[in-house]
């Protein structure tokens, strides 16, 4: 599934403009050290983090997109960094469990 399709189906709000990518997995984490050791390329990264370290870690792994939960929004500096490295940022009003359940209903099972 592409990020644009996922955004439509789960009610995600795009924070920045970016390339549409195919999502090949899902990872949920609020720790940069965990992201760089466990997330996979083209994964959808789900997090509460809004700090710029999130972009530094996600870019190293080459995630497909980031969903920031509970309606939180990163600072402009973080958005600009995401733009610079081409990472799509989305915002969801959901908590991690609610959003993960939506993904499971859409067929994401890893």
């Amino acid at each position: 599934m592409k990020t644009s399709e996922l955004a439509t189906k789960t009610g995600l709000k795009a924070i920045n403009e970016s390339e549409d990518k195919i999502i090949e997995g899902v990872y949920i984490s609020d720790m940069a050290s965990d992201i760089i050791t466990n997330a996979k390329a083209n994964a959808l990264l789900i997090t509460l983090l809004t700090h710029k370290v999130l972009i530094a870690a996600a870019n190293l792994i080459d995630v497909a997109a980031i969903v920031i939960l509970k309606g939180r929004l990163p600072d402009q500096e973080v958005i600009e960094l995401a733009n610079r490295v081409g990472i799509a940022l989305f915002s969801s009003e959901d908590d991690a469990w609610t959003f993960a359940a939506k993904l499971a209903r859409l067929g994401f099972n890893n």
């Binding site: 990518k21 965990d34 710029k52 370290v53 530094a56």
Partner: protein, 173 residues
């Protein structure tokens, strides 16, 4: 096995603290990885140095193992990675990033002796393995990760970047 086209994976992953200390006598900086339950903050004397705790944050440490030839690159000389955002004129890292273009992201391998008073930095073997590992997993066409040793920074105090370490809960939002 010199002819192996390595396929690296992380191994020996440890979670702990990246601790940074400063010497009040020479102004030098040193950092180390601690797996203690609480990051050590004690001051101590070591030769001519008098080290005091500056900062610490949760971080991870790992080695790289080739799944084909089973070679292991021990990253004992690496204490962290920093995404470079340096744009200072005259900075080697900033110049490399500029010449590489927007599809390349430069990361700095931070060694324990960040002031390089010992003359040592992250080894070439470690840098090569890190470059191969991170680039082999990239799926975005044209994207590249370039890992450089911190000895290439204009100054560890002024070279700008984002250290990949876990920030405190109060900083999450």
């Amino acid at each position: 096995m010199g002819t192996c086209s390595h396929k690296w994976e992380m191994t020996d992953i440890l979670y702990g603290y990246l601790v940074v200390e400063g010497c009040s006598r020479c102004g030098g900086r040193a950092s180390f990885f601690s797996t203690e339950a609480v990051a050590p903050v004690e001051q101590y004397k070591e030769g001519d140095h008098f080290w005091a705790h500056l900062t610490s944050s949760q971080a991870t440490r790992f080695n790289l193992k080739c799944t084909k030839c089973h070679e292991v690159v021990h990253l004992d000389d690496l204490v962290g990675l920093m995404m470079s955002t340096c744009e200072q004129p005259g900075c080697y890292v900033a110049n490399i990033a500029k010449s590489e273009g927007k599809m390349t992201s430069v990361y700095i391998a931070l060694c324990a002796d960040s002031s390089h008073s010992s003359g040592r930095c992250t080894s070439t073997a470690s840098i090569n393995a890190l470059n191969e590992y991170f680039n082999q997993n990239i799926k975005t066409p044209g994207k590249k990760i370039l890992v450089l040793p911190c000895s290439k920074c204009c100054s560890i105090d002024t070279c700008r970047g984002i250290i990949i370490a876990d920030i405190g809960l109060t900083d999450i939002y």
